[in-house]
């Protein structure tokens, strides 16, 4: 994992609090945090396992009291089959935690109105899903995420479903500010190599976006020599 993290060039690593020891006893059988160097990466605790706002808030507070950063990736997905985030509980928890001064990054379905409601209550970003967690289907919610990016006043992080480096490049080309990737790297034959490929894809996508020069996809051909150019011949 350490090598893959380094190869990916990531700045933030999210950790499920249920896997970590929050009692302060340094449990050697729950030592997942020991694998992440806090001087190199920001550890972003996540609330996976919580199914209500109340549970997520409790977890986030416990994480802070055990010495973790006052950041939280809000993950409230009660349905264990598709892991779809609960918009109602997520909004409730986001409001409470943002008021308490947490940097809140909510995992949500790609719902533009929900994204705006979350920004209104003070989340630091929104994290719409590309497709179900672990599904590697890519950005199946593309049209919705385009609206979210268009309307956003906070960073947009595409989370879940990115199964290939090209999916990550696509997200950045669209104007997303970051991606969150796990499964595609974790289960790769050579996680470090694939992590490096994701780093390059993110860089490529970002450069393409910043250049502003990539034309939209069109169903019709577009002649490189304009068909109506003759109208203007000799006028310049």
């Amino acid at each position: 994992m350490r090598d893959a993290l380094a190869a990916s060039g990531t700045e933030i690593v999210t950790v499920a609090l249920r896997r970590a020891d929050l009692s302060g006893k340094k449990d050697p059988y729950a030592d997942i945090l020991d694998f992440i160097d806090p001087s190199r990466y920001l550890i972003l605790p996540n609330t996976s396992g919580a199914v209500t706002a109340e549970e997520a808030v409790r977890l986030a507070r416990l994480a802070v009291s055990s010495g973790l950063p006052k950041w939280v990736k809000l993950e409230i997905h009660p349905d264990p089959v598709y892991l779809m985030p609960d918009p109602i509980e997520t909004l409730k928890a986001a409001e409470i935690l943002a008021k308490e001064g947490f940097v809140v990054l909510p995992y949500i379905n790609a719902d533009p109105v929900l994204a705006k409601r979350l920004q209104d209550v003070g989340t630091a970003a929104v994290m719409p899903l590309g497709s179900p967690i672990g599904s590697n289907q890519g950005i199946a919610t593309r049209r919705q995420i385009e609206i979210i990016i268009d309307q956003a006043t906070v960073p947009v992080i595409v989370d879940a479903g990115l199964g290939r480096p090209s999916h990550a490049a696509e997200a950045l080309e669209m104007g997303a500010d970051a991606v969150l990737v796990n499964t595609a790297i974790a289960i790769a034959g050579d996680p470090s190599a694939v992590a490096g490929a994701f780093r390059l894809a993110v860089e490529a996508g970002r450069i393409a976006f910043e250049s502003g020069g990539i034309p939209e996809v069109s169903n019709t051909a577009s002649a490189s020599s304009p068909l109506t150019g003759f109208l203007f011949e000799g006028k310049s």
Partner: protein
């Protein structure tokens, strides 16, 4: 529609559910080549959904007292076995031992007996463990929703209840006495547990009581039904193959290793997110081969007798005849101080948790001991910071 209704119209139910249709098709005899492709798909699906991890848990037997007569079970009331029920401090001692071995997930198991495993006992056990055991689940006689609630509130996260057999006729032949005779009371138990707030529900069928193909198809239909009706619960399945127990029961039907692997892989590819549990009933060789294929949760170093880990309770063993405690005659009573209570079944994989964990690391699977935070279910609020 209840699952009991589904069971009576299973064929039409299977036709209308694509994953059940596929599951059924995967139970037909497969050539070696096809079984290999199924296993290859299972590996991919398991890794995609669970990463390179394996969850470990340990059973802790509280009591082997029982008022039921189940033809296949060592704890059956008419079996003249040595019995005991651990006191709460004894349960704590057993749990402390398991925690020292690495376990952060303990399954409390008990026979069904209102006199010995009585009201409030389970709640006390859970409350005594919750501060040092992150995840606690139970496998005990089915209860009412209202009786489950205090257990969830005390910190119990999971409920395990196997139907044993989904063949109603066979069920009545094997369960001849006690409350367990009621097929439907048991069948609806997972839904009562869900209503009480359990987060994780384990279901299963004992293999050997009825022909395995029909049995696992009905189990798959139950799983499919429960995933929709109890949509917030995580499910696990298990296919314990019957092993010798007191009472010398010989399973009526067998399932070969190849058929066992086929059924487990079929579950994996049709129900990608479901946890698949493998106990120490199976041999080390078969377990090792199955770990990377489709299994996501295993026990290790298990004992199936109350007090089996530390020897507690050995001074209190006795016989139970018609619900009454009968002291052992001398000189057995003297020896009894050294005699552990009888186990439910014999285990086959006797490797220690450490050996198993090392083996897993060797095949590039990370042993996961803690995968739950008990404070999630805690009724106590945490002050804002």
């Amino acid at each position: 529609m209840s699952f009991a209704d589904t069971l009576t119209s299973l064929e039409s139910c299977v036709r209308q559910r694509p994953q059940l249709k596929r599951f059924q098709s995967l139970l037909t005899p497969l050539s070696g080549h096809d079984l290999e492709s199924l296993a290859a798909e299972a590996v991919v699906v398991t890794r995609r959904n669970f990463g390179r991890t394996m969850h470990l848990f340990a059973p802790l037997y509280l009591s082997n007292e029982c008022i039921n007569n189940c033809a296949y079970c060592g704890f059956s009331r008419d079996n003249p076995i040595l019995r005991t029920t651990l006191t709460v401090p004894q349960v704590v001692k057993e749990a402390q031992y398991l925690v020292s071995q690495g376990f952060r997930d303990i399954l409390l198991v008990a026979g069904e007996h209102p006199r010995f495993v009585s009201e409030g006992y389970l709640e006390e056990c859970i409350a005594a463990l919750r501060d040092f055991v992150p995840r606690i689940s139970i496998e005990v006689g089915p209860m009412e929703t209202d009786d489950y609630r205090p257990l969830v509130q005390a910190g119990c996260e999971g409920l395990i209840v196997y139907q044993e057999t989904y063949d109603q006729e066979a069920y009545h032949e094997y369960h001849t006495a006690g409350p367990k005779k009621d097929f439907h009371w048991r069948l609806a138990c997972p839904e009562r547990g869900y209503a009480a707030g359990f987060r994780r529900i384990g279901i299963g069928a004992l293999i050997g009581l009825a022909p395995w193909k029909e049995e696992v198809l009905r189990l798959a239909a139950h799983l499919d039904y429960l995933q929709r009706s109890c949509w917030k619960a995580r499910f696990t399945i298990s296919l314990p193959r019957l092993r010798p127990a007191a009472g010398a029961f010989h399973p009526r039907y067998t399932m070969s290793d190849a058929e066992f692997v086929q059924a487990l892989c079929a579950f994996r590819v049709c129900f990608p997110q479901v946890g698949i549990v493998l106990s120490t009933r199976e041999s080390p060789g078969l377990r090792d081969a199955l770990f990377p294929l489709c299994i996501t949760s295993i026990s290790a170093g298990s004992h199936t007798e109350p007090g089996g880990y530390t020897g507690v309770g050995a001074s209190d063993v006795h016989l139970t005849v018609r619900g009454r405690r009968v002291e052992l005659d001398t000189p057995a009573s003297v020896e009894a101080h050294l005699t552990p209570a009888t186990g439910q079944f014999n285990i086959s994989d006797e490797r220690s948790p450490r050996e198993i964990a090392n083996y897993l690391r060797g095949i590039d699977l990370e042993p996961v001991w803690k995968d739950w935070e008990s404070s999630i279910l805690s009724p106590e609020p945490v002050a804002s910071t």
